[in-house]
Symmetry: C2
Subunit: 364 residues, 2 copies
């Protein structure tokens, strides 16, 4: 198999997803700015993978910081965090990862003997240099732990989700919520992998997912690489095959889930959800708890990233529309919770009413 | 403006729709075989335009026939008709045009003095050569009449349809049901043109329409050329904009309509119709009576053309999916009549129950 992202001595190494499926190329981001640019330009994408990249980007920036005091290091942290946080506004995992690293930063200062709260750490037994070294080494460890946990979370999610899939089924998926979208194994495709591991006969129908073609380029590539049967369709064909009875379940990932179960995910997800309900097909969302943002009461509060119109009017350098015609490019949409059959997490499966079931998962 | 298709001394001249939007190139088909190939390879496409091309292809083949007897000419007609009819199985206008030309062929033999039924025409006052000349000239005239009528039909359809559109509206359309899909003016886009001519303020949101991108390449091109405001979106964005309340009506064309009002049209139309109903937006189909096939009781009897998977996995020579991944490519889908708010024809607007209203339009 391949590694979506890993920490190396030289920097953060990623498979370049803009080069797939025709080239399997790896790039090493040697500065946190390069990590931010890789997230922004979608060298790495997918909410959980963005979370891992953000954690590693913060760790890399802090590792390379020349700060000589904790206060300087903290200022560097905020500068790094700000740049990383601005790359993709919809993926909550970005903010989750930065927040986790910030908490670790502060708690790492506790390694000093004689630590007490409220700035007292600066006067503790450890020297500034010792504290800085401790923060650096713990953030680097933590970034790698974020990756390892992400894979373990996906495997747990797969076990919970596999039980929902029939013994023999064609499963439709949209975008890429696979190993490439995560630290590894995948969220939606993790459920597919787990169902197959449990002996079920699963075929995947993959929406190509315009405009960025994550389905054609990434989902088709990683499933073929894993020898999981996959057939590609354009986004506008899914409804036709649902109506013909050729699809038994839909599974997608999520970029952010509100407390009421509304799901922000790749543009086109709402359409798939409406079509699934219209045709009596279950619509499942597989996402780790880090994707669920209990601070938002509904999906209407989720900011929707608007990307460049060029991604709609051009294709691999080929112009597909007249030069002077404007285009819209919302990168995500929000699927209201009433279309969601269940949300699969690493702690179990939540069903409506989500305001209760999601809160219960966090408490469990 | 431009001419989608016209009869010339040298053959059938068409704008090459596979070269749009970057090049405005015209090709002249000098034999009926070239006309058939142009239909098959989508140099010309759109059900009404295919009907015009089929009529002109038959006329061209008959014009060039070396038959020296009416029987030989009839045999040539059947050979031509067979090749033309096999080009695109879903567009009923193809069969309608061939049938119309066949009827004209037979009635043209009546020019002979002393004609009586059942083969007696062969013994009439006119010589075989005179009869052949009469058939040739009348088929050539008829093909041009099919074109002129198509434009007049679209203008009538526009007048009926324009009344359905609000004074100020954003109208979503799928595929290209415009001047390029017809002899001129357009079916769905004819309604838009007529609404604008009636002083209404209309913006068009155009689905790009994968895999062949008729929306991006053709609808965007012809509307921009006509200075009608158009914004391009990918197919999977339409639902998002409907949910946001940014779309007031949907208008599409049709490739074949069954007696019960089920509509076969470009793949993705069913999805748009489901989304429109879910969001309380009217979904209109604009199509001439020649598109309505009363011999089919429902859409389930409409054959759906399956085109090459390469059109899904490649674009403009660029490979977008892994080389070994299979793809599906139904070129059309069927929208059940319950999603159709109204069918706009040249004789007026039909509403449910369509089994009655469509039949009434034919009788009117």
């Amino acid at each position: 198999m391949f590694k979506t992202i890993e920490w190396t001595e030289d920097g953060v190494r990623m498979i370049d997803q803009t080069r797939l499926p025709t080239s399997e190329v790896y790039v090493t981001c040697r500065t946190y700015q390069e990590v931010a640019e890789a997230i922004r330009s979608m060298v790495i994408r997918g909410a959980p993978a963005i979370g891992v990249a953000a954690a590693m980007g913060v760790a890399l920036g802090i590792k390379q910081s020349r700060a000589v005091s904790v206060e300087e290091l903290r200022a560097d942290f905020e500068k790094i965090a700000e740049m990383i946080s601005k790359t993709r506004p919809t993926a909550v995992n970005l903010f989750w990862a930065v927040k986790r690293m910030r908490e670790l930063f502060e708690s790492s200062l506790n390694v000093a003997p004689g630590f007490s709260p409220a700035g007292a750490a600066l006067k503790g037994g450890a020297t500034e240099a010792e504290k800085i070294a401790a923060v650096k080494s713990r953030l680097i460890e933590e970034a790698q732990r974020v990756l390892a946990e992400d894979i373990a979370i996906n495997e747990a999610m797969g076990r919970h989700g596999a039980a929902l899939i029939p013994e023999s089924a064609t499963v439709l998926t949209h975008c890429n919520a696979g190993a490439l979208a995560t630290g590894g194994y995948g969220t939606a495709l993790g459920v597919v992998r787990a169902a197959i591991a449990a002996g079920k006969k699963i075929d995947v129908l993959a929406d190509e997912t315009r405009p960025f073609l994550q389905g054609a380029r990434l989902t088709a590539w990683e499933l073929a690489k894993d020898q999981i049967p996959v057939t590609l369709i354009t986004d506008n064909m899914a409804g036709h095959f649902m109506k013909l009875g050729e699809i038994q379940a839909v599974i997608v990932g999520a970029d952010r889930i509100a407390a009421n179960g509304d799901v922000a995910n790749k543009i086109g997800t709402y359409t798939v959800a409406v079509l699934a309900r219209e045709n009596g097909i279950p619509f499942y969302v597989a996402a780790p708890l880090s994707t669920i943002d209990l601070s938002l009461s509904s999906g209407e509060q989720i900011p929707i990233e608007e990307r460049s119109a060029d991604e709609v009017t051009h294709w691999g350098g080929v112009q597909t529309a007249p030069a002077d015609v404007p285009a819209r490019h919302p990168a995500f949409d929000v699927t209201p919770h009433r279309y969601v059959t269940a949300i699969i997490t690493e702690r179990g499966v939540a069903r409506a009413p989500y305001a209760d079931s999601l809160k219960a998962l966090f408490a469990s």
